[in-house]
Amino acid sequence: MHEAGIAASVLEIAETEARKLGATTIRVVKLRLGDFSGVVADALEFAFEALKAGTLADQARLEIERIPLTAWCSTCQATRQPQEELMLWCPACNTPLEVMTGQELDVEYIEIDEPERGREPWSASA
C-alpha cells in the first residue's frame, strides 16, 4: 500500500509544474500507469482524492491510462503480450522474455487554467 506516497509524489510533480507557469488551478493530472508497475489504480485514485485538498490540484481529476504488459522475444524477434496468467517465456519458442512496457508510472501532462498573463493586482479590470 504505497499508493499514498505515490499520490503525494504525483501531486508534488503537478504542483511544481503549475507553479513554474504561475498557474493556480490544476484541472487534470494525466498519469500513465503500467499493468506491471505494482501500483493499484483504485488505491491510487482514492489516495489522490484524499490528498488533493489544499493543493493547486484540489479541483483536479486524475486521469489514468493503463499500459498493458508487453514483452520481447529475442529469438522470434517478436512482441508478446503475456495474458492474465503471467508467463515470461515465449509461447512459441520458450525463450525468456524481456518486459518492454507495463512498468510505467509517469505524469504525462497536466491541464491548468491559463494564468492571466500581464495582469497585476493593480491593473484596470476593464
Binding site: 503471467l86 505524469v107 504525462e108 501532462y109 497536466i110 491541464e111 491548468i112
Partner: protein, 232 residues
C-alpha cells in the same frame, strides 16, 4: 484550459537518490544487496546463517528496515556484524532513507552491505535503493501461488531463495512446483532451495553470493571506481 507536457517519472526523486547512493557505493567498492520477502519468510535468520557460513570472508554490514523495534539489528550484531536499524512508518525502504543511514552507519570499513527491506511483497519492487543485486526469500509455507500473485517482486529479483525446505513435507507443495512458479515469472533468476535450520542448500547460495560479489568488484574495477584512498 491549457495542456502542459510534464513527462516525469513519479519515482524520479527516489531514482535520483538511488543513483547518488550507487555512486557512493562505487567510490568505496562496496557491493550492496537488497533483500526482500514477505513478513516471516526468514530474512534475518537467513542473514545470521549466511554470516556464519561466510566466516569472515568479507567485512559485512547490515541495514535493517522495520516499522518498529531494533530486534533484527540486535540479532545481526549478535551474529557478529555491525547493523543499523531504520524504523519507518512506510511499508518499504526508499533511497533517501538509505542515504540518511549512510551518514550515521560507517561503511568505509565494509566490503559488502546487505539491506534487509521491510517484509512486503509489493512496494519494494518499485524503489531502487542503489543496490547491485536483489535477493528474494520465498518460504515453502507461503504456498505455491506467491510468484503468480506478486510477479513484479520475483521478476526484479536476481536470486530467489526457496526457504524452509525442511518444512516441505508438512505442506502441500513441492520444491519443484515452487521453483517452476518462480521461473515462470522470473526466467533469469538463480533459484536455490535452502533451510536456515538444517543448512541445506547453503553451499549453493553462498557460491552464488560470493560470485556476485566478485563479479561486481570486477565491474567496479572496469569502470574505474577503485578506491585509491580509503579515507575518502
Amino acid at each position: 484550459m491549457e495542456r502542459i507536457s510534464v513527462e516525469t517519472k513519479v519515482l524520479k526523486k527516489n531514482d535520483e537518490f538511488a543513483a547518488e547512493n550507487r555512486a557512493v557505493f562505487e567510490a568505496r567498492r562496496l557491493v550492496v544487496f537488497n533483500v526482500w520477502s514477505a513478513p516471516g519468510a526468514g530474512k534475518t535468520t537467513m542473514l545470521e546463517r549466511t554470516l556464519k557460513e561466510l566466516d569472515g570472508r568479507y567485512r559485512i554490514g547490515v541495514i535493517e528496515g522495520d516499522i518498529q523495534t531494533e530486534i533484527d539489528a540486535d540479532r545481526i550484531r549478535s551474529a557478529g556484524a555491525p547493523a543499523y536499524q531504520i524504523n519507518t512508518s512506510r511499508c518499504h525502504l526508499e533511497a533517501n532513507m538509505i542515504q540518511e543511514a549512510l551518514t550515521k552507519f560507517p561503511i568505509d570499513a565494509l566490503d559488502v552491505l546487505i539491506i534487509e527491506n521491510i517484509g512486503n511483497m509489493v512496494c519494494p519492487a518499485s524503489y531502487d535503493l542503489g543496490e547491485h543485486a536483489r535477493v528474494m526469500l520465498y518460504s515453502s509455507t507461503e504456498g505455491a501461488e506467491k510468484p503468480r500473485k506478486y510477479p513484479k517482486m520475483f521478476y526484479r529479483s536476481d536470486c530467489v531463495l526457496l526457504n524452509k525446505v525442511d518444512l516441505v513435507p508438512y505442506t502441500n507443495v513441492s520444491v519443484e512446483e515452487l521453483s517452476a512458479n518462480v521461473l515462470a515469472v522470473s526466467p533469469k533468476a538463480a533459484v536455490f532451495p535452502i533451510s536456515c535450520r538444517t543448512g541445506e542448500g547453503f553451499s549453493a547460495w553462498i557460491g552464488w553470493l560470493t560470485a556476485a560479489v566478485e563479479r561486481q568488484r570486477e565491474a567496479f574495477h572496469v569502470s574505474g571506481g577503485a578506491r585509491t584512498n580509503p579515507g575518502n
